[in-house]
């Protein structure tokens, strides 16, 4: 079956199998920043934005993206670069496998009208697991990116 969706601002018409997950569709489209870390919606590594909201693409049927806008980190290069700079300054990048998903979630958060305190940052990003960094350097870098660095 065919679906239409906006991928990073460009209209795509894609042929998919009915049970196909968005993660697989995107990787087939050579969007390689979207990766799989688990089989159970647990790790957040596959996060993409659907109409600007973070969702786990590994468990989201591609059919349901029909008529919606999908953003991956390839679609927000300036924001990713800004965040990368903050990560670099804080030593917050290690293996990098979790980074594109983190970056998208951080970007989505930045656009929401919420107070960026420790509580909301942790709540917003708790689904983005990272096994390398111990988390706090990431959060420090994120506060810089959000402009709320104490």
């Amino acid at each position: 079956m065919n679906i239409n969706f906006l991928l990073n601002g460009t209209l795509k018409v894609v042929n998919i199998c009915p049970g196909e997950m968005l993660l697989d569709t995107l990787r087939k489209l050579d969007i390689l920043s979207v990766r799989r870390g688990c089989d159970t919606t647990s790790c957040g590594v596959c996060t993409v934005l659907l109409d600007n909201k973070p969702i786990p693409s590994c468990s989201f049927l591609s059919v349901r993206a029909d008529g919606h806008a999908v953003t991956t980190v390839e679609g927000i290069p300036e924001e990713a670069e800004k965040l990368a700079k903050c990560f670099g300054e804080e030593g917050a990048d290690q293996c990098g496998f979790c980074n594109p998903a983190f970056s998208l979630t951080a970007y989505a958060m930045k656009q929401e009208k919420i107070v960026f305190d420790e509580q909301t940052i942790k709540d917003y990003l708790v689904g983005n697991l990272c096994r390398c960094t111990g988390y706090l350097s990431q959060e420090k870098a994120l506060r810089k990116y959000l402009g709320v660095d104490q």
Partner: protein
């Protein structure tokens, strides 16, 4: 379609379906039905079955309803991605034993509006042996003011509950609900009834009610915890929750 084809399935957020994938012939999407809204009138808050956990978490009317227990319960489920996708309809119709939301919804005495079946309470629905083959359209909750307490005990923030509980005291009526025992959320009816008859419960009334709750609820052992430990958690938190909604210190 649903009634005709036994292998057709309704799609909520689709997350749980994905974990338990079995053979499904047709997935019925409800996107176009406008069931993704939270509405309120003088007496009721109405939640469309496609409302996501994230909506529940951030909804202003829900944050102030009975101490915001429904928002709190949502907040403690997984990460933002899952909460943006998982729906209240999928939660109710999935009837998960570990569910945090069902616990909070029971404490709020939620009522369910189906496509064909007559409106019924969540408690009645959960008491049914089998899930209905029907479409859940919306959930209605009375806006009765009052206090509430929700608590989830889990190993990490992303883990399922070892035990969860919600307590509400609205218009002098109590609800004491314990879930993930690991069985599905249940009300402690005797304890509730006992407290309903007391105007200003004292410390010893609370202890008595806690004792009643422990006697009527069953607990068992699974990978996450033993029966004995669960029971102890329930004892401690029912007592603390009652004190919190009654306004006593613990």
């Amino acid at each position: 379609m649903l009634t005709e084809d036994p292998k057709s399935v309704i799609l909520g957020g689709g997350l749980w379906l994905r974990l338990s994938f079995s053979e499904v012939s047709t997935l019925i999407g409800l996107e176009k039905l406008g069931l993704d809204r939270i509405e309120e009138d003088d007496q009721w808050i109405k939640l469309g079955s496609q409302v996501t956990l994230r909506d529940l978490q951030t909804s202003t009317p829900l944050q102030s309803l009975a101490g915001g227990i429904l928002s709190q319960a949502s907040e403690h489920i997984m990460g933002i991605g899952v909460r943006n996708v998982a729906t209240i309809g999928g939660t109710i119709c999935g009837r998960y034993g570990f569910s945090d939301l069902l616990t909070a919804l029971l404490a709020l005495d939620a009522r369910l509006v189906f496509f064909k079946t007559e409106e019924l309470s969540l408690k009645q629905y959960l008491a049914k042996k089998k899930p209905l083959r029907d479409i859940l359209l919306s959930i209605r909750i009375r806006k009765t003011p009052g206090a509430g307490y929700f608590h989830k005990i889990s190993t990490t923030a992303l883990d399922f509950a070892i035990l969860n509980l919600a307590i509400a005291r609205r218009a002098g009526k109590y609800k004491i609900v314990v879930g993930s025992r690991p069985g599905i959320a249940k009300c402690a009816e005797n304890a509730m009834e006992y407290l309903d008859q007391i105007e200003n419960p004292s410390e010893s009334d609370i202890l008595k009610a806690t004792q009643l709750a422990l006697e009527e609820l069953t607990f068992s052992t699974n990978l996450k915890a033993t029966q004995e430990y669960r029971q102890e958690l329930a004892r401690v938190y029912v007592e603390r929750g009652l004190k919190a909604v009654i306004g006593l210190e613990y």
